[in-house]
Amino acid sequence: MSAVIETQDLTKIYEGAFKGQDVHALTKLNLTIEAGEIFGYLGPNGSGKTTTIKMLLGLIFPTSGKIRILGRKDFGSPAVRRKIGFLPEGAYYPDFLRGEEVLSFFGKLYGLGGADLRKRIDWAIELVGMKHARKRLVRGYSKGMRQRIGLAQALLSNPDILILDEPTTGLDPIARKEIRDILSNLRDEGKTLLISSHELLEVEMISNRVGILSNGVLQTMGTLDELLTSRDVLLQVGAMSAEASGKLTAAGLEIEDQVKDNVKIRVPDQVSVYDALELCKTQNVPLLSVAPRRETLEELFVRIVGAAERAKEQS
């Protein structure tokens, strides 16, 4: 695997009008995104995600540090940008153009033209399900429609790298599923995707690796298996006697929820799952299911960002 996007000690400081008012948007970011992976770039508002993306695209320039895209140092040059598709957050497009005109405009900026461009526009519009609104002015589009046309323009030039800032914002659940499928297919085709999002569930579903940023510092980075640790085991059992319930609780098991004949029992780390199952058997508790539970991305995010915030307050 080769690094498609690589940053080394990337730092961005926005200078304030007066001394001491400088804003450290990003501090010594070391990021490596491999070819053919979906990288979830997470962080609370103001953590430096968009600043990173703007620097990768050459829209703003780093205060210090290095960026390499596809192994090239000239990351903001037209030659490198030709290989990148970008969906900005909020999807900003010329309001007085029609949907297909927006695509034609951006396609021409990528150097596409003639029958090839028309074919690509038809393909992209079909892919994002915007055939019905291709002739309408963008200013009359809903948020979801803007997002779809934004994704279409990002995909238009068949780029090697896709940088998507909040790609599923404003979309309904069905559209989210469609977009997720499109992104997964793109990864399978060998494209590299960097997705910045607050939709942690979406990111958890499709990302290979994630990085969590807080206060301009990358707090953690890795695959979901590496980061999301196993937490406990959940037993689902049927109706049981009060005596059996008391014995299970005495053994350290926790009854989380009980709805009629369906009881959820948590097996904490310190209790052996085999012992818990044996106890259920001896007490004639009907076992319905056994499921390991691991930390969700949301829980990891809250834990990491919370710790970073506390550390900042203390310092």
Partner: protein, 280 residues
């Protein structure tokens, strides 16, 4: 070679889509419709005058009235369109963040600004051609003489708009909203048309011998030297009093674009582009 062609193509694409976007803006369409209405209205008004008086000398007065109204209309509405569009294309895209989407494509900042400026000129030229064409037809219908002098006037009017547009656009490249460039454009238009008064102020200022008086005179002289004299582009008097097919007087091409302003404006645009390209 291919990179130059690609660069020119991208700039032209931005220009064409700026024009297409601009021509769909309601404010601009409103200005254009209003000016067309006034030009049409003036034809009816002069026809009404002919019916009521009907003498030979009145035909001349009628044509003069038509010319007066049309030249003024083109000048005012054309300038409003020019300032409005020059002041809003770049700040508008900065405000609604379209600029980020465009500049994330294989486009340099200089190409973006140049494309926008050419797009603005296309809008100005097409609006002027529409208004001027209508005036041309109305005048020809009235006098049955090919009004070639009018074509010169339209050409010069465009150069006047070009100077104001370039200045407004240059200011707009550093502005976050269209308000400041609009004010700057109006300032240049108004002072550029009153520049001879500044010369008068300078000539009269030294007569009292007081220091404050002299200071005012020097300021007036400084402004006279810096600001463009937009009256150089005006052929209103010739249009009003000469025959429609007379050759133009005192039109010299080297004087059409005021060199200092042009140099200053183009370097300003270049500076804006260079500044936005440099590491921040």
């Amino acid at each position: 070679m291919s990179s130059i062609i690609s660069s020119v193509r991208s700039t032209w694409t931005i220009a064409i889509y700026t024009w297409r976007q601009g021509m769909r803006q309601k404010t601009l369409i409103g200005f254009l419709l209003l000016s067309v209405l006034v030009i049409f209205g003036s034809s009816f008004l002069t026809a009404f005058l002919t019916q009521t008086t009907g003498t030979d000398t009145q035909v001349d007065i009628e044509a003069k009235l038509l010319k007066d109204i049309c030249v003024t209309t083109i000048s005012i509405f054309g300038m409003l369109i020019t300032i409005f569009i020059s002041a809003s294309v770049v700040p508008g895209e900065v405000q609604n963040k379209v600029v980020y989407t465009v500049l994330s494509k294989p486009v340099r900042r200089f190409q973006y600004l140049l494309g926008k400026f050419i797009g603005v000129q296309l809008i100005v030229i097409i609006n002027l051609a529409l208004m001027g064409g209508l005036f041309f037809i109305a005048l020809y219908a009235k006098q049955r003489i090919m009004p070639t002098l009018l074509l010169w006037s339209i050409l010069l009017t465009y150069f006047e708009f070009l100077v104001v547009s370039a200045f407004t656009f240059a200011v707009s490249c550093s502005a976050s909203s269209p308000v400041l460039p609009t004010i700057a454009g109006l300032f240049i238009y108004v002072t550029g048309n009153l520049i001879e008064y500044l010369k008068d102020v300078y000539n009269r200022a030294g007569q009292t011998g007081q220091w404050f008086d002299e200071l005012i005179g020097k300021v007036a002289y400084g402004l006279y030297q810096i600001l463009p004299n937009l009256q150089n582009f005006s052929m209103k008097t010739q249009i009003l009093y000469l025959q429609p097919n007379d050759p133009p007087k005192d039109v010299q091409f080297p004087n059409l674009i005021w060199p200092k302003l042009w140099r200053g404006t183009s370097s300003r645009i270049g500076f804006s582009g260079a500044r936005s390209c440099s590491p921040s």
